[in-house]
């Protein structure tokens, strides 16, 4: 069943069409990646899905309900981890609950329950600068989860991490997603990452940006660690490269 549907979405700024007729579907529990070159309108598309920007035409549906132009429903995680330096880790994470009108104490209590699961216990009252890159990322994920808990859109969530931390976070993310029953749509530049993590890949190319191809990874999101050394992996990669270079 589709939890998130983006239908015929187009948007222009000052006569320049940025994205044209975008159709995207996200099924429950899926990880889907959106792959494309920089400046291809991915951020514009995400702003529309998050509800902070309105499309010129087209609709966004969450669980069948039209949410076009409504914010606060789909969790949005921006490129940087965006932990606010002047709030403790706990207050950072509890922020979406507070914004929704929950009392501060209640929000803290609720957020606290997940600290163990997200590998953050002991850091509740520290400020973000005391955290390592991977921990900051996990804190940002926890905040994203507490934001809506159902559908998350992530803008290059792993791009700031080094190779080793990235692999670790990838595996951790898949596990936690499974546990929390979240569906994810994320943007990436990294083909390997897209193939390793996703159930499906949308390729966004051209000006204005359009979805030129949808690739289904038949292995699903859970793949062996060394999948990137197999022939199947290379076949997917070749397909992506040829789509991007057209």
């Amino acid at each position: 069943m589709s939890v998130l549907i983006v239908k015929n979405v187009s948007k222009a700024f000052d006569q320049n069409k940025i994205i044209d007729n975008i159709d995207i579907e996200l099924h429950e529990g899926e990880i889907v990646s959106l792959l494309g070159v920089s400046g291809g309108g991915k951020t514009t598309l995400f702003n529309i899905i998050a509800g902070i920007s309105k499309p010129d035409s087209g609709k966004v549906y969450l669980d069948g309900e039209d949410i076009t132009g409504r914010s606060g429903l789909v969790s949005y995680m921006l490129q940087k981890d965006m932990l606010l330096p002047y709030k403790t880790v706990l207050d950072n994470v509890a922020l979406p609950l507070v914004i929704k009108g929950m009392k501060k104490r209640e929000a803290r209590e609720k957020a606290m329950k997940y600290f163990d699961q997200f590998g953050l216990s002991g850091y509740e009252n520290k400020y973000p600068k005391a955290l390592s890159g991977g921990m900051r990322q996990r804190a940002a994920f926890l905040r994203t989860y507490l934001f809506s808990g159902k559908v998350a859109i992530l803008d290059e969530p792993f791009s700031a991490l080094d190779m080793l931390t990235k692999g670790e976070i990838h595996r951790w993310y898949m596990d936690i997603m499974q546990e929390l029953r979240m569906s994810t749509l994320f943007v990436t530049h990294d083909m390997d990452e897209a193939i390793m993590l996703s159930d499906r890949i949308y390729i966004l190319t051209g000006t204005p940006g359009t979805i030129t191809k949808e690739i289904i990874i038949t292995e699903g999101k859970f793949k062996p660690k060394d999948f990137n050394l197999t022939k199947e992996f290379l076949v997917y990669k070749q397909e992506i490269v040829s789509t991007l270079s057209n």
Binding site: N47, A50, G51, I52, R70, S71, G72, L73, V74, Y76, L78, Q79, K80, M82, L84, P85, Y86, K87, L95, P96, V98, I99, K100, Y127, K129, A130, F147
Partner: protein, 217 residues
């Protein structure tokens, strides 16, 4: 003309009670003026941040108020408001609101737009964005402005007292100057410096209290 340090210390001790009496008046003017100045600066900054038209209308006027020399306004204030505390407090307000307002406006404007975007995506209202992002983000600039304002406050109060009044360190200063009592003159100068430094230290302590995230781990 230049008294020995010993003479200055002696003068300070000798005149201590008298100095404290005047200090109390000056400090009251400075603190009340600073408090009102901070409030005014804050209100102006918030209004100008919320509304572009207000920003365009008021910013040049605010700059203009700072180009008029204090010494030139002070006699006018005395004429308009008399010899009591009010003209002094007004002068302190005029000198202290500016660093606060400018600091806060710059602070509000320098907030990371992605942070605002994140909160918008969470469905935050303008007020929530102000409370959670803009206000804490501008605190550093606010305290930098407050430090300047705190030192201006004492000096501003003293200058306004020069130009008319019955009590205060400025009044005392003009008196001892006319008597050519340079040792006392220097004693009061040091007292003013020390009080300014103490006020700035107090601001620093406040900053530590309100910005705990700046502490080193």
């Amino acid at each position: 003309m230049l008294p020995s340090p010993l003479a200055v210390v002696e003068a300070f001790v000798e005149e201590f009670d008298e100095l404290m009496l005047h200090l109390r008046v000056t400090l009251t003017e400075a603190v009340v003026g600073l408090a009102v100045g901070v409030l005014l600066g804050f209100v102006l900054a918030v209004a100008m941040d919320a509304c572009q038209v207000l920003y365009k209308a008021f910013y040049p006027v605010i700059i203009l108020t700072q180009t008029v020399p204090t010494v030139a306004i002070a006699p006018l204030l005395v004429l308009w408001f008399g010899y009591e505390m009010l003209p002094k407090v007004i002068l302190v307000v005029l000198t202290t609101f500016f660093p606060i307002a400018v600091g806060l406006i710059n602070g509000f404007k320098s907030v990371d737009t992605d942070e605002i975007k994140l909160l918008q995506a969470m469905g935050a209202s303008k007020l929530q964005i102000f409370i959670h992002i803009k206000l804490p983000g501008a605190l550093g600039q606010f305290f930098a402005g407050l430090k300047i304002s705190a030192s201006y406050a004492v000096v501003g109060a003293v200058i306004s007292e020069w130009l008319g009044g019955f009590e205060g360190l400025g009044v005392y200063m003009t008196r001892v100057k006319k008597a050519f009592a340079f040792d006392k003159m220097f004693a009061v100068i040091f007292l003013i410096s020390i009080v300014s430094l103490l006020l700035m230290k107090l601001v620093e302590l406040l900053q530590k209290k309100f910005m705990p995230w700046m502490e080193k781990e």
